[in-house]
């Protein structure tokens, strides 16, 4: 009887100690969750594990504040993208050996910080896009044997570095994204498609004839003026009504200018002393108006 009592007491004692232990653990967890929320983080429980995000409201997250995440233990997901953390902050990842998803994109994390990441044996997803990491970091990541996806867009890694890591981690999908410098050229054809233009007739007025007295109005079109003469010329629009001249531009030798206009408008070309050289009468099509080289 006595013996049973003793066993019972011991059991109760063990239970009490156990309860206190788990109570303390629950307390620690609550504190960690509260601390993370206080600095703008989101904590979501998934079973007995945790997902922690700072990328929306917690962007001011500083290196030392990551210690609160370390306090949470069973963290499987951590997103600190776009925050202020640097390589130094990653020292707090050390105890997070359950971590499977880690977002470090768009941070100041560099090669030095990857040392701490490479020790996370269960890591399956690692996003480093927009960081300054180089091939040095890739060398360390070869230790992450469970890594399924690695994102390296807009980093300083090289083709050789990536190829070498891919040999070490044959099953990992390494995403490098589009090459922005090539991207622009692949779409450049449509950015500046040369328009089909008809040639506008140049009417010389230096030897004979006169420019029209005024412009008429018509359909909207675009003229590309080009000065192929060896001296600068001035471009005037001959107005409606009284035909007043309106100055638009001075074109240096070889210069071009795109000009909005209307058909039946008249454009006068003069030399620098405002002496008329010739004119163009606009047609309905987009056109090319060349001030010729020989006569002016």
């Amino acid at each position: 009887m006595c013996r049973y009592q003793l066993v019972a007491r011991m059991l109760i004692a063990v239970l009490i100690v156990f309860c206190e232990l788990s109570w303390t653990r629950a307390d620690e967890t609550t504190d960690a969750v509260a601390a993370i929320r206080k600095i703008g983080g989101t904590v979501r429980p998934v079973g007995k594990e945790w997902m922690v995000d700072f990328h929306l409201r917690g962007r001011r997250l500083a290196d030392k504040e990551l210690v609160h995440v370390a306090g949470l233990k069973n963290v499987v997901w951590l997103n600190v993208s776009k925050t202020k953390i640097t390589s130094n902050g990653l020292v707090h990842l050390k105890g997070l050996d359950k971590l499977r998803w880690l977002h470090l994109e768009m941070t100041k994390v560099g090669d030095k910080g990857i040392e701490h990441v490479a020790g996370l044996d269960n890591l399956e997803y690692l996003n480093l896009f927009g960081t300054k990491i180089t091939d040095k970091a890739l060398g360390k990541l070869a230790r992450c044997k469970k890594l399924k996806r690695l994102y390296l867009w807009q980093t300083d890694v090289t083709d050789e570095g990536v190829a070498s890591l891919q040999r070490a981690l044959a099953k990992t999908r390494i995403v490098r994204g589009v090459d922005l410098s090539k991207l622009a050229s692949s779409f450049s054809s449509e950015v500046e498609k040369p328009k089909k233009r008809v040639a506008l007739k140049w009417v010389d007025v230096t030897s004979r004839g006169e420019a029209p007295a005024k412009s008429e109005t018509g359909i909207n079109c675009e003229i590309l003026f080009e000065n192929r003469s060896k001296r600068p010329v001035k471009l005037f629009w001959i107005g409606y009504g009284n035909g007043a001249l309106k100055f638009y531009a001075r074109l240096a030798p070889g210069a071009t200018r795109k000009q909005n206009s209307y058909s039946k408008n008249a454009w006068l070309i003069t030399d620098d002393d405002d002496q008329p050289l010739g004119f163009f009468l606009v047609t309905e099509d987009d056109s090319h108006a060349v001030v010729p080289g020989a006569s002016p």
Binding site: L56, R57, H103, Y151, V178
Partner: protein, 403 residues
């Protein structure tokens, strides 16, 4: 969610029919995709390169042959009732329903739709809103601030949000404090509180939130903007990506002119001149913008966490009509999904030789919805109380085995 208003022809996009009878076959040729054995139409060559990311569901069907009811069925997963566009008895759209289960911080709308709502000859179509979930879940309409518009008619209401206001912080805060003084005199009536909630959200958005930052497309790398294309279709996809990054849980892009206007304009209701319109106007913008979105999500490492679902009214008739068009056809059509844990490089179900009936694994918009909900971590059997407090299961379909 990308919505293709008017009904994209399955034959000229995801489900080419090269073996169909010659009078049904159409002008386009099939091309190989990155997935062995899967072909797309020749005019979505960029999407063909992304096939390893896609689940293509070729056996969808329902019974509604008119646009209004078909949009309702596709977007809510339910049979179409006869009611008004904003009737609270309506079923919530998929966009609204998913947003119901997402937590958002202040200043972040639970759901955004852009660049305009879907109309048919001036009539606003039912099913695009929060329905019995309540006004809190009506997606916020947002104007895409850049890109060439779709040809044809698109309607703006008075309530689209354009965050490009040149208001300084002081002015917004000044207005808010003035408003608070005035409101103390009004009291706390329910309608007023509700109105206030939206205004609060708008003020927070204007002041500081990542949503405002995301809205400013000028902040994006110009080369990435070029990748999406200088068209409102492309810039809307880009804005959608930026908004989801800023914490908006669900974004709906309506990829076509907002009003069908009798099949004129750049929408998918191609009763006339189907082939030239698809080839020259619709598919190039769609192909480029959607493939840019997938490329971009992938390189940022967010495709696994982001579900992209392409939804449409219905498919189009195998028969080509006398105006060189294809007409409404709900008996079989195709929708696609990518990311969000969906296994890529797969085709679910099939249509027959002529693209006229499901040939295998027939499925419904409800099944499509159940799949989307499951991908978003929401049990399709979840019960919610409606406006009379009666419990409803949120989805009648069964998830498709796409994971």
């Amino acid at each position: 969610m990308i919505y293709l208003w008017g009904g994209i022809a399955h034959q000229e996009s995801w489900d080419p029919k090269p073996e169909a009878l010659s009078e049904l076959r159409g002008e386009f040729q099939p091309i190989s995709t990155a997935t062995p054995g899967v072909q797309f139409s020749e005019h979505i060559p960029l999407m063909a390169k992304h096939s390893e990311k896609l689940a293509v569901i070729r056996s969808l069907n329902h019974h509604v042959g008119a646009h209004g009811g078909a949009l309702y069925t596709s977007i809510t997963g339910q049979k179409a009732p006869l009611g008004k566009a904003k009737d609270r008895k309506n079923w919530p759209s998929l966009t609204a329903m998913v947003s119901r289960f997402c937590e958002v911080p202040g200043g972040t709308p639970p759901a955004i739709a852009m660049p305009y709502l879907n109309y048919d000859n001036g009539a606003l179509i039912q099913g695009q809103f929060g329905g019995w979930l309540g006004v809190d879940y009506d997606p916020i309409m947002m104007r895409t601030p850049a890109g060439k518009p779709y040809g044809g008619t698109s309607r703006y209401t008075n309530s689209e949000l354009a965050l490009k206001l040149e208001l300084g912080r002081n002015r917004v805060e000044g207005r808010r404090s003035l408003r608070e003084k005035l409101e103390r005199q009004v009291g706390a009536q329910a309608d007023f509180k509700r109105f206030d909630r939206f205004r609060q959200m708008a003020a927070e958005m204007l002041l500081s939130s990542p949503v405002k930052e995301a809205y400013d497309l000028e902040n994006e790398d110009p080369r990435i903007r070029v990748m999406y294309g200088d068209h409102i279709g492309g810039q809307s996809m880009l804005l959608a990506r930026r908004l989801t990054e800023a914490g908006v849980p669900v974004v709906q892009v309506n990829a076509g002119a907002g009003d069908l206007a009798g099949g004129s304009g750049d929408n998918w209701d191609t009763h006339r001149g189907h082939f030239p319109k698809m080839k020259k106007r619709l598919l190039p913008v769609f192909d480029r913008s959607l493939s840019a979105l997938l490329t971009d999500l992938e390189q940022r490492g967010s495709l696994d966490e982001t579900l992209v679902a392409v939804v449409t009214d219905f498919g189009r008739t195998p028969k080509i009509n006398k105006n060189g068009g294809r007409d409404h056809f709900p008996a079989v059509f195709t929708q696609i999904m990518a990311g969000g844990g969906i296994r890529g490089g797969q085709v679910y179900g099939s249509s027959d030789r002529d693209g006229a009936r499901p040939a295998s694994d027939s499925c419904t918009p409800g099944d499509f919805h159940a799949t989307v909900l499951t991908a978003m971590g929401i049990d399709p059997r979840t019960e919610l109380p409606d406006r009379e407090g009666r419990p409803f299961q949120i989805c009648g379909g069964k998830p498709l085995p796409l994971f």
